[in-house]
Protein backbone atom coordinates (compact mmCIF):
# COMPACT_ATOMS: atom_id res chain seq x y z
CA UNK A 1 0.00 0.00 0.00
CA UNK A 2 2.67 2.49 1.05
CA UNK A 3 4.72 1.47 -1.98
CA UNK A 4 1.83 2.30 -4.29
CA UNK A 5 1.30 5.65 -2.65
CA UNK A 6 4.99 6.54 -2.82
CA UNK A 7 4.81 6.03 -6.57
CA UNK A 8 1.59 7.99 -6.73
CA UNK A 9 3.30 10.75 -4.79
CA UNK A 10 5.93 11.02 -7.53
CA UNK A 11 3.26 11.07 -10.21
CA UNK A 12 1.39 13.85 -8.41
CA UNK A 13 4.58 15.88 -7.92
CA UNK A 14 5.42 15.53 -11.60
CA UNK A 15 1.94 16.43 -12.75
CA UNK A 16 1.88 19.52 -10.56
CA UNK A 17 5.51 20.52 -11.20
CA UNK A 18 4.47 23.20 -13.68
CA UNK A 19 2.23 24.89 -11.13
CA UNK A 20 4.26 24.56 -7.96
CA UNK A 21 6.56 22.20 -6.09
CA UNK A 22 4.26 20.48 -3.67
CA UNK A 23 5.21 19.02 -0.35
CA UNK A 24 4.05 15.37 -0.41
CA UNK A 25 4.02 13.04 2.58
CA UNK A 26 2.96 9.40 2.77
CA UNK A 27 1.89 8.22 6.21
CA UNK A 28 -0.42 5.38 7.29
CA UNK A 29 -0.77 4.43 3.64
CA UNK A 30 -2.25 7.82 2.78
CA UNK A 31 -0.82 10.51 0.58
CA UNK A 32 -1.04 14.11 1.74
CA UNK A 33 0.04 17.12 -0.28
CA UNK A 34 0.24 20.68 0.91
CA UNK A 35 -0.38 23.34 -1.67
CA UNK A 36 -0.38 27.10 -1.87
CA UNK A 37 -3.89 28.51 -1.60
CA UNK A 38 -3.44 30.74 -4.60
CA UNK A 39 -2.94 27.77 -6.90
CA UNK A 40 -5.63 25.58 -5.35
CA UNK A 41 -8.23 25.60 -8.12
CA UNK A 42 -5.63 25.11 -10.83
CA UNK A 43 -4.15 22.19 -8.89
CA UNK A 44 -7.54 20.61 -8.30
CA UNK A 45 -8.29 20.89 -11.99
CA UNK A 46 -5.04 19.12 -12.84
CA UNK A 47 -5.71 16.43 -10.26
CA UNK A 48 -9.09 15.80 -11.81
CA UNK A 49 -8.15 15.98 -15.48
CA UNK A 50 -4.77 14.23 -15.53
CA UNK A 51 -5.64 10.73 -16.74
CA UNK A 52 -3.09 9.02 -14.52
CA UNK A 53 -4.53 10.70 -11.44
CA UNK A 54 -8.20 11.23 -12.39
CA UNK A 55 -9.56 12.30 -9.02
CA UNK A 56 -13.14 12.39 -10.23
CA UNK A 57 -14.91 12.52 -6.86
CA UNK A 58 -14.53 14.90 -3.99
CA UNK A 59 -15.17 12.78 -0.94
CA UNK A 60 -14.78 15.29 1.82
CA UNK A 61 -13.83 18.87 2.56
CA UNK A 62 -13.29 20.24 6.01
CA UNK A 63 -11.76 23.17 7.80
CA UNK A 64 -9.37 22.65 10.68
CA UNK A 65 -8.41 25.20 13.30
CA UNK A 66 -4.86 24.44 14.42
CA UNK A 67 -4.64 27.19 17.05
CA UNK A 68 -4.31 24.89 20.10
CA UNK A 69 -2.42 22.10 18.36
CA UNK A 70 0.22 20.76 20.74
CA UNK A 71 1.93 18.18 18.57
CA UNK A 72 5.32 18.57 16.95
CA UNK A 73 3.94 19.10 13.45
CA UNK A 74 4.67 22.56 12.11
CA UNK A 75 1.56 24.51 11.31
CA UNK A 76 2.06 27.25 8.76
CA UNK A 77 -0.92 29.20 10.05
CA UNK A 78 -4.06 28.86 12.13
CA UNK A 79 -6.57 27.59 9.58
CA UNK A 80 -6.33 24.90 6.99
CA UNK A 81 -8.81 23.67 4.44
CA UNK A 82 -8.46 19.93 3.88
CA UNK A 83 -9.77 18.09 0.83
CA UNK A 84 -10.10 14.32 0.51
CA UNK A 85 -10.23 13.24 -3.10
CA UNK A 86 -11.00 9.86 -4.56
CA UNK A 87 -10.42 8.45 -7.99
CA UNK A 88 -13.18 5.99 -8.76
CA UNK A 89 -11.48 5.31 -12.07
CA UNK A 90 -8.03 4.41 -10.70
CA UNK A 91 -8.99 3.51 -7.13
CA UNK A 92 -6.69 5.77 -5.16
CA UNK A 93 -7.05 8.66 -2.77
CA UNK A 94 -5.25 11.85 -1.89
CA UNK A 95 -5.51 14.46 0.83
CA UNK A 96 -4.86 18.07 -0.15
CA UNK A 97 -4.23 20.63 2.55
CA UNK A 98 -3.94 24.32 2.04
CA UNK A 99 -3.02 26.78 4.78
CA UNK A 100 -5.04 29.96 5.08
CA UNK A 101 -4.47 33.40 6.59
CA UNK A 102 -4.91 33.78 10.34
CA UNK A 103 -7.24 36.76 10.44
CA UNK A 104 -9.06 36.45 7.13
CA UNK A 105 -9.16 32.80 6.07
CA UNK A 106 -10.23 32.84 2.46
CA UNK A 107 -9.61 30.49 -0.43
CA UNK A 108 -11.04 29.98 -3.91
CA UNK A 109 -14.02 27.69 -4.16
CA UNK A 110 -13.65 24.35 -5.93
CA UNK A 111 -17.35 24.04 -6.79
CA UNK A 112 -16.40 24.68 -10.42
CA UNK A 113 -14.25 21.54 -10.32
CA UNK A 114 -16.54 19.19 -8.36
CA UNK A 115 -20.11 20.36 -7.87
CA UNK A 116 -20.36 18.04 -4.86
CA UNK A 117 -18.13 20.49 -3.01
CA UNK A 118 -21.00 22.96 -2.69
CA UNK A 119 -22.43 21.87 0.66
CA UNK A 120 -19.09 20.85 2.07
CA UNK A 121 -17.81 24.40 1.58
CA UNK A 122 -20.94 25.81 3.15
CA UNK A 123 -20.34 23.53 6.11
CA UNK A 124 -16.70 24.58 6.51
CA UNK A 125 -17.81 28.22 6.27
CA UNK A 126 -20.49 27.66 8.89
CA UNK A 127 -18.46 25.68 11.40
CA UNK A 128 -14.93 27.04 10.97
CA UNK A 129 -15.55 30.35 9.28
CA UNK A 130 -13.51 29.85 6.14
CA UNK A 131 -14.64 31.96 3.22
CA UNK A 132 -14.76 30.32 -0.18
CA UNK A 133 -14.58 33.00 -2.81
CA UNK A 134 -16.58 32.25 -5.93
CA UNK A 135 -18.97 29.93 -4.12
CA UNK A 136 -22.47 30.29 -5.67
CA UNK A 137 -24.41 30.34 -2.42
CA UNK A 138 -22.29 30.66 0.72
CA UNK A 139 -24.91 30.50 3.49
CA UNK A 140 -24.82 28.82 6.87
CA UNK A 141 -25.99 25.26 6.69
CA UNK A 142 -25.90 23.30 9.93
CA UNK A 143 -26.35 25.89 12.66
CA UNK A 144 -29.56 27.69 13.57
CA UNK A 145 -31.04 30.62 11.66
CA UNK A 146 -29.33 33.77 12.98
CA UNK A 147 -26.51 31.89 14.68
CA UNK A 148 -23.42 33.91 15.59
CA UNK A 149 -19.90 32.46 15.68
CA UNK A 150 -18.18 29.43 14.22
CA UNK A 151 -18.51 26.44 16.56
CA UNK A 152 -15.53 24.39 15.44
CA UNK A 153 -13.06 27.16 16.11
CA UNK A 154 -11.05 26.32 19.19
CA UNK A 155 -11.99 29.55 20.95
CA UNK A 156 -15.69 28.69 20.76
CA UNK A 157 -16.78 27.09 24.06
CA UNK A 158 -18.29 23.61 24.00
CA UNK A 159 -21.33 24.83 25.95
CA UNK A 160 -21.94 27.58 23.40
CA UNK A 161 -22.58 31.25 23.99
CA UNK A 162 -26.34 31.64 24.14
CA UNK A 163 -29.20 29.51 25.39
CA UNK A 164 -32.78 29.67 24.33
CA UNK A 165 -36.02 29.38 26.25
CA UNK A 166 -39.66 30.28 25.87
CA UNK A 167 -40.61 33.38 27.81
CA UNK A 168 -44.27 33.15 28.88
CA UNK A 169 -44.54 36.88 29.58
CA UNK A 170 -43.16 38.01 26.27
CA UNK A 171 -44.95 35.14 24.50
CA UNK A 172 -41.88 34.34 22.44
CA UNK A 173 -38.56 32.57 22.47
CA UNK A 174 -35.74 34.56 24.07
CA UNK A 175 -31.98 34.14 23.83
CA UNK A 176 -29.81 34.62 26.94
CA UNK A 177 -26.13 34.12 27.74
CA UNK A 178 -25.44 30.53 28.81
CA UNK A 179 -25.94 29.80 32.49
CA UNK A 180 -24.06 26.49 32.61
CA UNK A 181 -20.33 26.22 33.09
CA UNK A 182 -18.07 24.10 31.02
CA UNK A 183 -17.17 20.93 32.91
CA UNK A 184 -14.06 18.95 32.14
CA UNK A 185 -14.11 15.52 33.76
CA UNK A 186 -11.04 14.15 32.05
CA UNK A 187 -8.30 16.63 31.22
CA UNK A 188 -6.69 16.61 27.83
CA UNK A 189 -3.22 15.13 28.23
CA UNK A 190 -0.39 14.10 25.94
CA UNK A 191 1.54 11.03 27.01
CA UNK A 192 4.83 10.19 25.41
CA UNK A 193 4.89 6.57 24.45
CA UNK A 194 8.36 5.38 23.51
CA UNK A 195 7.00 2.47 21.54
CA UNK A 196 5.34 4.84 19.13
CA UNK A 197 8.36 7.07 18.90
CA UNK A 198 10.37 4.12 17.57
CA UNK A 199 7.65 3.04 15.23
CA UNK A 200 7.23 6.47 13.75
CA UNK A 201 10.95 7.04 13.44
CA UNK A 202 10.91 4.05 11.10
CA UNK A 203 7.85 5.31 9.30
CA UNK A 204 9.22 8.73 8.56
CA UNK A 205 12.64 7.47 7.47
CA UNK A 206 10.94 5.12 4.99
CA UNK A 207 8.37 7.43 3.56
CA UNK A 208 9.69 10.89 3.88
CA UNK A 209 12.67 11.11 1.55
CA UNK A 210 12.49 14.90 1.49
CA UNK A 211 13.28 14.79 5.20
CA UNK A 212 10.70 17.27 6.35
CA UNK A 213 10.95 16.26 9.94
CA UNK A 214 8.64 18.51 11.87
CA UNK A 215 10.28 21.58 13.26
CA UNK A 216 8.18 21.84 16.39
CA UNK A 217 6.10 24.71 17.66
CA UNK A 218 3.14 26.21 15.89
CA UNK A 219 2.81 29.45 14.10
Amino acid sequence: MSQYYSELSDKVSNALAEIETVNAVVAHGELTIEVNKDNLVQICQTLRDNQELAFDTMIDLCGVDYSTYEGSKSCASRYASVYHLLSVKNNHRIRVRTWLDDDFPMVDSVVSVWSGANWFEREAFDLVGILYSGHPDLRRILTDYGFIGHPLRKDFPVVGQVEMRYDANKQRVVYEPVSIEERINIPRIIRDDNRYAERFANLSSNNDPAGNESQGGSA
Binding site: E30, D56, T57, D60, I184
Partner: protein, 417 residues
Protein backbone atom coordinates in the same frame (compact mmCIF):
# COMPACT_ATOMS: atom_id res chain seq x y z
CA UNK B 1 -53.15 42.48 -15.11
CA UNK B 2 -51.65 40.27 -12.50
CA UNK B 3 -48.32 38.67 -13.13
CA UNK B 4 -48.06 34.91 -12.83
CA UNK B 5 -45.56 33.99 -10.15
CA UNK B 6 -44.05 30.75 -9.01
CA UNK B 7 -45.67 29.28 -5.96
CA UNK B 8 -43.38 28.70 -3.00
CA UNK B 9 -44.17 25.71 -0.85
CA UNK B 10 -42.72 24.94 2.52
CA UNK B 11 -42.27 21.18 2.82
CA UNK B 12 -41.49 19.97 6.33
CA UNK B 13 -39.73 20.05 8.75
CA UNK B 14 -42.50 17.94 10.30
CA UNK B 15 -43.63 16.04 7.25
CA UNK B 16 -43.78 12.23 7.43
CA UNK B 17 -42.21 11.88 3.99
CA UNK B 18 -39.32 14.16 4.93
CA UNK B 19 -37.69 11.24 6.76
CA UNK B 20 -36.90 13.23 9.84
CA UNK B 21 -36.44 16.96 10.01
CA UNK B 22 -35.90 18.16 6.47
CA UNK B 23 -37.23 21.57 5.59
CA UNK B 24 -37.54 21.96 1.87
CA UNK B 25 -38.46 25.23 0.20
CA UNK B 26 -39.96 24.28 -3.14
CA UNK B 27 -40.57 26.74 -5.94
CA UNK B 28 -43.40 25.38 -8.01
CA UNK B 29 -44.69 26.29 -11.42
CA UNK B 30 -48.08 24.62 -11.28
CA UNK B 31 -47.12 21.21 -10.03
CA UNK B 32 -43.63 21.21 -11.53
CA UNK B 33 -40.66 21.85 -9.27
CA UNK B 34 -38.48 24.72 -10.45
CA UNK B 35 -36.08 24.83 -7.56
CA UNK B 36 -35.65 22.96 -4.31
CA UNK B 37 -33.77 24.59 -1.47
CA UNK B 38 -33.24 22.20 1.42
CA UNK B 39 -32.68 23.61 4.89
CA UNK B 40 -30.86 21.03 6.95
CA UNK B 41 -29.28 21.27 10.37
CA UNK B 42 -32.40 20.96 12.46
CA UNK B 43 -30.90 17.89 14.11
CA UNK B 44 -27.41 19.36 14.47
CA UNK B 45 -25.98 18.20 17.79
CA UNK B 46 -22.38 19.24 17.32
CA UNK B 47 -20.95 15.71 17.41
CA UNK B 48 -17.63 16.86 15.99
CA UNK B 49 -17.27 19.57 18.62
CA UNK B 50 -18.29 17.25 21.45
CA UNK B 51 -15.83 14.61 20.29
CA UNK B 52 -12.96 17.05 20.75
CA UNK B 53 -13.61 17.21 24.48
CA UNK B 54 -14.08 13.50 25.09
CA UNK B 55 -11.60 10.65 25.21
CA UNK B 56 -11.50 8.36 22.21
CA UNK B 57 -13.66 5.56 23.58
CA UNK B 58 -16.37 7.89 24.83
CA UNK B 59 -17.06 8.92 21.27
CA UNK B 60 -18.01 5.44 20.10
CA UNK B 61 -21.50 5.99 21.43
CA UNK B 62 -21.89 9.15 19.36
CA UNK B 63 -21.14 7.20 16.20
CA UNK B 64 -24.27 5.08 16.70
CA UNK B 65 -26.35 8.21 16.88
CA UNK B 66 -25.13 9.66 13.60
CA UNK B 67 -26.81 7.41 11.13
CA UNK B 68 -29.17 5.80 13.59
CA UNK B 69 -30.27 3.02 11.26
CA UNK B 70 -26.80 1.76 10.40
CA UNK B 71 -25.21 1.99 13.80
CA UNK B 72 -22.39 -0.51 13.79
CA UNK B 73 -21.04 0.48 10.38
CA UNK B 74 -20.42 3.98 11.72
CA UNK B 75 -18.56 2.58 14.71
CA UNK B 76 -16.54 0.43 12.36
CA UNK B 77 -15.21 3.44 10.46
CA UNK B 78 -14.34 5.28 13.67
CA UNK B 79 -12.59 2.28 15.24
CA UNK B 80 -10.68 1.59 12.03
CA UNK B 81 -9.34 5.14 11.94
CA UNK B 82 -8.05 4.87 15.50
CA UNK B 83 -6.57 1.45 14.78
CA UNK B 84 -4.78 2.94 11.80
CA UNK B 85 -3.28 5.70 13.95
CA UNK B 86 -2.36 3.27 16.73
CA UNK B 87 -1.09 0.81 14.14
CA UNK B 88 -2.68 -2.22 15.78
CA UNK B 89 -4.10 -5.40 14.27
CA UNK B 90 -7.56 -6.69 15.07
CA UNK B 91 -7.87 -10.44 15.81
CA UNK B 92 -9.41 -12.39 12.96
CA UNK B 93 -12.41 -13.54 14.94
CA UNK B 94 -13.25 -9.94 15.83
CA UNK B 95 -12.97 -9.04 12.15
CA UNK B 96 -15.45 -11.76 11.20
CA UNK B 97 -17.80 -10.61 13.95
CA UNK B 98 -17.53 -7.06 12.61
CA UNK B 99 -18.23 -8.14 9.06
CA UNK B 100 -21.21 -10.20 10.20
CA UNK B 101 -22.65 -7.30 12.16
CA UNK B 102 -21.91 -4.84 9.38
CA UNK B 103 -24.01 -6.98 7.09
CA UNK B 104 -26.75 -7.37 9.69
CA UNK B 105 -26.70 -3.59 9.87
CA UNK B 106 -26.95 -3.38 6.10
CA UNK B 107 -30.04 -5.57 6.22
CA UNK B 108 -31.49 -3.43 9.01
CA UNK B 109 -30.86 -0.28 7.01
CA UNK B 110 -32.18 -1.58 3.71
CA UNK B 111 -35.27 -3.03 5.39
CA UNK B 112 -35.98 0.29 7.04
CA UNK B 113 -35.37 2.07 3.76
CA UNK B 114 -37.56 -0.29 1.74
CA UNK B 115 -40.40 -0.14 4.24
CA UNK B 116 -40.49 3.63 4.56
CA UNK B 117 -39.85 4.24 0.87
CA UNK B 118 -42.76 1.94 0.08
CA UNK B 119 -44.90 3.81 2.56
CA UNK B 120 -43.99 7.17 1.03
CA UNK B 121 -44.95 6.01 -2.42
CA UNK B 122 -48.16 4.40 -1.20
CA UNK B 123 -47.44 0.74 -0.50
CA UNK B 124 -48.48 -0.16 3.03
CA UNK B 125 -47.89 -3.90 3.23
CA UNK B 126 -44.18 -3.76 2.50
CA UNK B 127 -43.70 -1.60 5.57
CA UNK B 128 -45.17 -4.27 7.85
CA UNK B 129 -43.18 -7.03 6.17
CA UNK B 130 -39.89 -5.18 6.57
CA UNK B 131 -40.43 -4.33 10.19
CA UNK B 132 -41.28 -7.96 10.92
CA UNK B 133 -37.78 -8.98 9.80
CA UNK B 134 -36.06 -6.11 11.53
CA UNK B 135 -37.30 -7.51 14.80
CA UNK B 136 -35.11 -10.62 14.58
CA UNK B 137 -32.05 -8.62 13.63
CA UNK B 138 -32.56 -6.17 16.46
CA UNK B 139 -32.78 -9.16 18.80
CA UNK B 140 -29.36 -10.19 17.55
CA UNK B 141 -28.09 -6.69 18.36
CA UNK B 142 -29.60 -6.93 21.80
CA UNK B 143 -28.15 -10.36 22.50
CA UNK B 144 -24.64 -9.22 21.71
CA UNK B 145 -24.59 -5.74 23.23
CA UNK B 146 -27.62 -5.32 25.45
CA UNK B 147 -29.04 -2.51 23.31
CA UNK B 148 -31.41 -2.91 20.41
CA UNK B 149 -30.20 0.03 18.38
CA UNK B 150 -27.31 1.99 19.81
CA UNK B 151 -25.07 -0.95 20.38
CA UNK B 152 -21.61 0.61 21.10
CA UNK B 153 -20.24 -2.85 20.48
CA UNK B 154 -17.03 -2.26 18.50
CA UNK B 155 -13.88 -1.00 20.21
CA UNK B 156 -10.56 0.05 18.75
CA UNK B 157 -8.71 -3.28 18.76
CA UNK B 158 -11.68 -5.59 18.42
CA UNK B 159 -15.18 -5.95 19.77
CA UNK B 160 -16.35 -5.54 23.35
CA UNK B 161 -17.01 -9.22 24.01
CA UNK B 162 -17.46 -12.54 22.25
CA UNK B 163 -20.80 -13.70 20.88
CA UNK B 164 -23.20 -15.04 23.53
CA UNK B 165 -23.81 -18.79 23.85
CA UNK B 166 -27.50 -18.43 24.52
CA UNK B 167 -30.39 -16.27 23.40
CA UNK B 168 -32.84 -14.71 25.85
CA UNK B 169 -36.21 -16.48 25.91
CA UNK B 170 -39.75 -15.13 25.99
CA UNK B 171 -41.60 -15.89 29.22
CA UNK B 172 -45.23 -16.88 29.59
CA UNK B 173 -47.50 -14.18 30.99
CA UNK B 174 -51.19 -13.45 31.29
CA UNK B 175 -51.10 -12.26 27.67
CA UNK B 176 -49.12 -15.14 26.21
CA UNK B 177 -49.72 -18.77 27.09
CA UNK B 178 -46.94 -21.31 27.49
CA UNK B 179 -47.65 -22.89 24.11
CA UNK B 180 -47.47 -19.51 22.32
CA UNK B 181 -44.23 -18.73 24.06
CA UNK B 182 -42.79 -22.14 23.19
CA UNK B 183 -43.51 -21.41 19.56
CA UNK B 184 -41.71 -18.03 19.82
CA UNK B 185 -38.75 -19.59 21.57
CA UNK B 186 -38.30 -22.36 19.01
CA UNK B 187 -35.34 -20.75 17.24
CA UNK B 188 -33.84 -19.36 20.45
CA UNK B 189 -32.71 -22.66 21.93
CA UNK B 190 -29.10 -22.48 20.72
CA UNK B 191 -26.51 -19.71 20.55
CA UNK B 192 -26.77 -16.38 18.76
CA UNK B 193 -25.17 -17.96 15.70
CA UNK B 194 -27.84 -20.68 15.58
CA UNK B 195 -30.50 -17.99 15.84
CA UNK B 196 -28.96 -16.05 12.95
CA UNK B 197 -28.50 -19.22 10.94
CA UNK B 198 -32.21 -19.86 11.25
CA UNK B 199 -32.88 -16.27 10.14
CA UNK B 200 -30.64 -16.47 7.08
CA UNK B 201 -32.39 -19.68 6.01
CA UNK B 202 -35.71 -17.86 6.04
CA UNK B 203 -34.55 -14.49 4.75
CA UNK B 204 -34.12 -15.37 1.08
CA UNK B 205 -37.82 -16.24 1.03
CA UNK B 206 -38.71 -12.94 2.63
CA UNK B 207 -36.86 -11.00 -0.05
CA UNK B 208 -38.86 -12.95 -2.63
CA UNK B 209 -42.00 -11.76 -0.85
CA UNK B 210 -40.92 -8.12 -1.15
CA UNK B 211 -40.13 -8.56 -4.80
CA UNK B 212 -43.52 -10.17 -5.43
CA UNK B 213 -45.12 -7.08 -3.99
CA UNK B 214 -43.04 -4.46 -5.72
CA UNK B 215 -40.65 -5.40 -8.51
CA UNK B 216 -43.24 -5.90 -11.25
CA UNK B 217 -45.95 -3.86 -9.61
CA UNK B 218 -47.37 -1.40 -12.14
CA UNK B 219 -47.96 1.43 -9.68
CA UNK B 220 -44.49 0.99 -8.16
CA UNK B 221 -42.91 1.18 -11.61
CA UNK B 222 -44.96 4.19 -12.64
CA UNK B 223 -43.78 6.01 -9.56
CA UNK B 224 -40.11 5.04 -9.79
CA UNK B 225 -38.97 4.41 -13.35
CA UNK B 226 -37.18 7.40 -14.94
CA UNK B 227 -37.50 9.52 -11.81
CA UNK B 228 -34.35 11.25 -10.58
CA UNK B 229 -31.99 9.92 -13.27
CA UNK B 230 -28.26 10.39 -12.71
CA UNK B 231 -25.54 9.44 -15.16
CA UNK B 232 -22.28 7.93 -13.96
CA UNK B 233 -20.38 11.16 -14.69
CA UNK B 234 -22.87 13.30 -12.80
CA UNK B 235 -22.92 10.88 -9.88
CA UNK B 236 -19.14 11.08 -9.47
CA UNK B 237 -19.16 14.86 -9.86
CA UNK B 238 -21.84 15.18 -7.16
CA UNK B 239 -19.86 13.00 -4.77
CA UNK B 240 -22.30 10.08 -4.75
CA UNK B 241 -21.19 6.80 -3.22
CA UNK B 242 -22.79 3.50 -2.35
CA UNK B 243 -26.00 2.33 -4.05
CA UNK B 244 -26.56 5.84 -5.45
CA UNK B 245 -23.38 5.48 -7.50
CA UNK B 246 -23.79 1.79 -8.30
CA UNK B 247 -27.30 2.31 -9.67
CA UNK B 248 -25.74 4.63 -12.26
CA UNK B 249 -23.61 1.77 -13.53
CA UNK B 250 -20.35 2.30 -11.65
CA UNK B 251 -19.22 -0.93 -9.98
CA UNK B 252 -17.72 0.88 -6.99
CA UNK B 253 -17.92 -0.75 -3.59
CA UNK B 254 -15.31 -0.23 -0.89
CA UNK B 255 -15.80 -3.80 0.27
CA UNK B 256 -14.30 -4.90 -3.05
CA UNK B 257 -12.14 -1.93 -3.98
CA UNK B 258 -10.40 -1.31 -0.66
CA UNK B 259 -11.24 -4.50 1.25
CA UNK B 260 -11.20 -3.84 4.98
CA UNK B 261 -11.73 -6.35 7.80
CA UNK B 262 -12.22 -9.75 6.11
CA UNK B 263 -14.26 -8.73 3.09
CA UNK B 264 -11.56 -10.16 0.86
CA UNK B 265 -12.18 -13.61 2.37
CA UNK B 266 -15.91 -13.78 1.82
CA UNK B 267 -17.64 -14.35 -1.47
CA UNK B 268 -20.26 -11.89 -2.73
CA UNK B 269 -21.25 -9.90 -5.80
CA UNK B 270 -21.81 -6.22 -6.41
CA UNK B 271 -25.14 -5.41 -8.07
CA UNK B 272 -24.95 -2.55 -10.57
CA UNK B 273 -27.78 -0.63 -12.23
CA UNK B 274 -27.95 0.83 -15.74
CA UNK B 275 -30.24 3.87 -15.85
CA UNK B 276 -29.50 5.48 -12.49
CA UNK B 277 -33.15 6.16 -11.77
CA UNK B 278 -35.11 5.46 -8.59
CA UNK B 279 -36.17 2.05 -9.81
CA UNK B 280 -32.57 0.95 -10.41
CA UNK B 281 -31.63 2.08 -6.95
CA UNK B 282 -34.47 -0.01 -5.57
CA UNK B 283 -33.32 -3.08 -7.51
CA UNK B 284 -29.69 -2.58 -6.46
CA UNK B 285 -30.61 -2.35 -2.79
CA UNK B 286 -32.85 -5.40 -2.89
CA UNK B 287 -30.10 -7.41 -4.51
CA UNK B 288 -27.66 -6.11 -1.90
CA UNK B 289 -29.87 -7.63 0.77
CA UNK B 290 -29.50 -11.04 -0.87
CA UNK B 291 -25.72 -10.57 -1.06
CA UNK B 292 -25.56 -9.50 2.60
CA UNK B 293 -27.42 -12.65 3.49
CA UNK B 294 -24.76 -14.66 1.66
CA UNK B 295 -21.99 -12.92 3.59
CA UNK B 296 -23.72 -13.51 6.92
CA UNK B 297 -24.02 -17.25 6.15
CA UNK B 298 -20.29 -17.45 5.40
CA UNK B 299 -19.42 -15.55 8.58
CA UNK B 300 -21.61 -17.82 10.70
CA UNK B 301 -19.85 -20.90 9.29
CA UNK B 302 -16.44 -19.45 10.02
CA UNK B 303 -17.33 -18.22 13.50
CA UNK B 304 -18.82 -21.56 14.51
CA UNK B 305 -15.57 -23.34 13.74
CA UNK B 306 -12.93 -20.84 14.82
CA UNK B 307 -12.92 -19.75 18.45
CA UNK B 308 -10.30 -17.23 19.50
CA UNK B 309 -9.68 -13.84 21.06
CA UNK B 310 -11.88 -10.93 20.02
CA UNK B 311 -9.76 -8.10 21.42
CA UNK B 312 -6.24 -6.93 20.74
CA UNK B 313 -3.75 -8.11 23.39
CA UNK B 314 -2.08 -4.77 24.10
CA UNK B 315 -3.95 -3.57 27.17
CA UNK B 316 -2.29 -0.18 26.98
CA UNK B 317 -4.99 0.62 24.47
CA UNK B 318 -7.68 -2.02 25.00
CA UNK B 319 -9.69 -3.03 28.00
CA UNK B 320 -8.07 -5.79 30.07
CA UNK B 321 -9.70 -9.09 30.82
CA UNK B 322 -12.10 -8.88 33.76
CA UNK B 323 -10.33 -11.65 35.71
CA UNK B 324 -6.93 -10.01 35.18
CA UNK B 325 -8.33 -6.85 36.63
CA UNK B 326 -9.33 -8.64 39.82
CA UNK B 327 -6.27 -10.81 40.30
CA UNK B 328 -3.40 -9.03 38.66
CA UNK B 329 -1.88 -5.71 39.71
CA UNK B 330 -0.99 -4.70 36.17
CA UNK B 331 -4.46 -5.59 34.98
CA UNK B 332 -5.94 -3.34 37.64
CA UNK B 333 -3.72 -0.46 36.58
CA UNK B 334 -4.62 -0.99 32.95
CA UNK B 335 -8.29 -1.04 33.81
CA UNK B 336 -8.06 2.12 35.89
CA UNK B 337 -6.07 3.97 33.26
CA UNK B 338 -8.31 2.80 30.44
CA UNK B 339 -11.50 4.04 32.04
CA UNK B 340 -10.17 7.23 33.61
CA UNK B 341 -7.59 8.82 31.36
CA UNK B 342 -8.04 6.65 28.29
CA UNK B 343 -5.18 6.03 25.91
CA UNK B 344 -3.16 8.50 23.91
CA UNK B 345 -3.14 8.17 20.17
CA UNK B 346 0.17 9.04 18.50
CA UNK B 347 0.35 12.28 16.58
CA UNK B 348 -0.80 12.11 13.00
CA UNK B 349 -3.84 12.17 10.82
CA UNK B 350 -5.82 9.42 9.15
CA UNK B 351 -8.95 8.94 7.11
CA UNK B 352 -10.73 5.61 7.04
CA UNK B 353 -13.90 4.80 5.20
CA UNK B 354 -16.28 1.88 5.19
CA UNK B 355 -19.03 0.90 2.81
CA UNK B 356 -21.93 1.83 4.99
CA UNK B 357 -25.38 0.81 3.65
CA UNK B 358 -25.94 4.37 2.37
CA UNK B 359 -22.54 4.92 0.84
CA UNK B 360 -19.07 5.85 1.95
CA UNK B 361 -18.93 6.73 5.62
CA UNK B 362 -15.53 7.96 6.69
CA UNK B 363 -13.93 9.58 9.67
CA UNK B 364 -10.93 11.86 9.48
CA UNK B 365 -9.06 12.19 12.75
CA UNK B 366 -6.30 14.69 13.44
CA UNK B 367 -4.44 13.68 16.59
CA UNK B 368 -1.83 15.78 18.34
CA UNK B 369 -0.87 12.89 20.59
CA UNK B 370 -3.47 13.51 23.29
CA UNK B 371 -6.11 11.21 24.75
CA UNK B 372 -8.82 13.11 22.87
CA UNK B 373 -9.10 13.70 19.14
CA UNK B 374 -7.82 17.13 18.10
CA UNK B 375 -10.28 17.24 15.24
CA UNK B 376 -12.78 14.65 14.13
CA UNK B 377 -14.45 15.12 10.78
CA UNK B 378 -17.28 12.82 9.90
CA UNK B 379 -17.86 12.27 6.23
CA UNK B 380 -21.46 11.19 5.90
CA UNK B 381 -22.71 9.87 2.58
CA UNK B 382 -26.17 11.31 3.20
CA UNK B 383 -24.77 14.84 3.26
CA UNK B 384 -23.46 14.55 -0.29
CA UNK B 385 -26.63 12.84 -1.49
CA UNK B 386 -28.87 15.44 0.14
CA UNK B 387 -26.99 18.29 -1.52
CA UNK B 388 -27.99 16.93 -4.91
CA UNK B 389 -31.70 17.16 -4.27
CA UNK B 390 -32.12 20.33 -6.32
CA UNK B 391 -30.41 18.65 -9.25
CA UNK B 392 -32.52 15.51 -8.87
CA UNK B 393 -35.94 17.09 -8.51
CA UNK B 394 -35.73 19.99 -10.95
CA UNK B 395 -38.43 19.61 -13.56
CA UNK B 396 -40.18 16.77 -11.78
CA UNK B 397 -43.67 16.83 -10.28
CA UNK B 398 -44.26 17.62 -6.63
CA UNK B 399 -45.18 14.00 -5.88
CA UNK B 400 -41.85 12.86 -7.31
CA UNK B 401 -39.98 14.90 -4.70
CA UNK B 402 -41.19 12.38 -2.14
CA UNK B 403 -39.93 9.51 -4.27
CA UNK B 404 -36.56 11.17 -4.67
CA UNK B 405 -36.19 11.85 -0.94
CA UNK B 406 -37.06 8.24 -0.32
CA UNK B 407 -34.59 6.90 -2.83
CA UNK B 408 -31.73 8.99 -1.44
CA UNK B 409 -32.00 6.95 1.77
CA UNK B 410 -31.14 9.86 3.99
CA UNK B 411 -31.13 9.88 7.75
CA UNK B 412 -30.82 13.25 9.39
CA UNK B 413 -28.65 12.01 12.19
CA UNK B 414 -25.75 11.83 9.75
CA UNK B 415 -26.65 14.73 7.49
CA UNK B 416 -26.81 17.16 10.40
CA UNK B 417 -24.36 15.46 12.77
Amino acid sequence: MSEIQNYTLNFGPQHPAAHGVLRLILELDGEVVQRADPHVGLLHRGTEKLAESRIYNQNIGYMDRLDYVSMLCNEHAYCMTIEKLLDIEVPERAQYIRVMFDEITRLLNHLMWLGTHGLDVGAMTIFLYCFREREDLLDAYEAVSGARMHASYYRPGGVYRDLPDSMPHYKASQWHTQSEVDEQNKNRQGSLLDFLKDFTDRFEGYVDEYETLLTDNRIWKQRLVDIGCVTAEQAKDLGFTGPMLRASGVPWDLRKMEPYAVYDKVDFDIPVGTNGDCYDRYVVRVEEMRQSNRIIIQCIDWLQNNPGPVMHEDHKVTMPNRMDMKEDMEGLIHHFKHFSEGYSVPEGEAYCAVEQPKGEFGTYIVSDGANKPYRLKIRASGFAHMSAINFLTEGHMLADVVTVIGTLDIVFGEVDR
